[in-house]
């Protein structure tokens, strides 16, 4: 059985007149068995209270699974002493998902495009490409151990 996940949800009522929002944080261990549950938890909170088309749910599930999987396998190298941190900043128009690992980071610019004909037979290398195709914007921190995926609500 996977170790337990630690979820925290905070809703801001914006008393200062600013826009109300929700912050969801989830900490999970570097175990691939945890990915599916983490994806379902975060997806559910991202879509709570919003009428989301099936396509939005699917995209969220795929990019979350992809980013968490990268963080566990490539970032933390499945080291049980390291954690993956998911942070979802939600408001009426936007879903902003940060996935951070405790690894050394990588250079996203050095990842080759996986769709060239000579690359099609390769088993790896499609993750980041898929994320870029399924969300509206992608950002990385300088160290390269934290990805931010931005989806605008339809």
């Amino acid at each position: 059985m996977p170790s337990s996940l630690r979820l925290c949800v905070r809703r801001s009522s914006a008393p200062d007149g600013g826009e109300a929002g929700t912050l969801v944080t989830l900490r999970l261990p570097s175990e691939v068995e945890c990915i599916e549950e983490a994806v379902e938890l975060v997806t559910r909170h991202c879509l709570a209270g919003h009428a989301a088309p099936r396509k939005t749910r699917f995209r969220l599930q795929v990019v979350l699974s992809e980013a968490i999987s990268n963080a566990i396998v490539r970032g933390n190298r499945e080291d049980r002493d390291k954690w993956v941190h998911v942070r979802a900043e939600l408001d009426r128009d936007t879903i902003r998902l940060h996935v951070t690992d405790e690894g050394a980071g990588f250079d996203p610019a050095a990842v080759p495009e996986p769709i060239r004909p000579e690359q099609l037979d390769e088993a790896n290398g499609r993750g980041l490409y898929l994320i870029r195709k399924l969300v509206d914007a992608v950002e990385f921190n300088e160290r390269g151990n934290s990805i931010c995926m931005i989806l605008r609500r339809p």
């Binding site: 990915i35 795929v62 769709i115 099609l120 037979d121 390769e122 088993a123 790896n124 499609r126 898929l130």
Partner: protein
């Protein structure tokens, strides 16, 4: 999340992906196909009618499986991809690598 293995009346080995095909279970699917090949199966169908989502590891596993089946002189078909799942194959151009049928029945008829 799991796999359901059956054999069609015409002798095609059918593997149904139930739930997700992701980094946590892709090896299980590869092992199932490997075992089927070792048992002499040469016509294989992987059906996604009951699949939620696939990540890049799952797509990668399918690429490896496709190679293995080809090297063994076998044939592989995919079926049951809904619009969302199919978009993953199209975005990655993998729709050009696989023989994809709309339904398992159509896939079985095409062997």
């Amino acid at each position: 999340m799991g796999f359901h293995q059956t054999k069609d009346a015409s002798g095609v080995a059918v593997l149904q992906v139930e739930g997700q095909l992701i980094v946590g279970n892709r090896q299980e699917l590869k092992d199932l196909v490997q075992a089927a090949l070792e048992q002499g199966e040469r016509r294989l169908l992987i059906d996604f009618s009951r699949t939620g989502y696939i990540d890049s590891s799952g797509l990668g596993a399918l690429v490896s499986i496709s190679k293995k089946v080809r090297e063994a002189g076998g044939e592989l078909r995919l079926s049951g991809l809904n619009e969302d799942l199919r978009s993953l194959f199209e975005l990655t151009k993998l729709d050009t690598l696989f023989a994809i049928a709309e339904t398992p029945q159509q896939a079985l008829a095409s062997f």
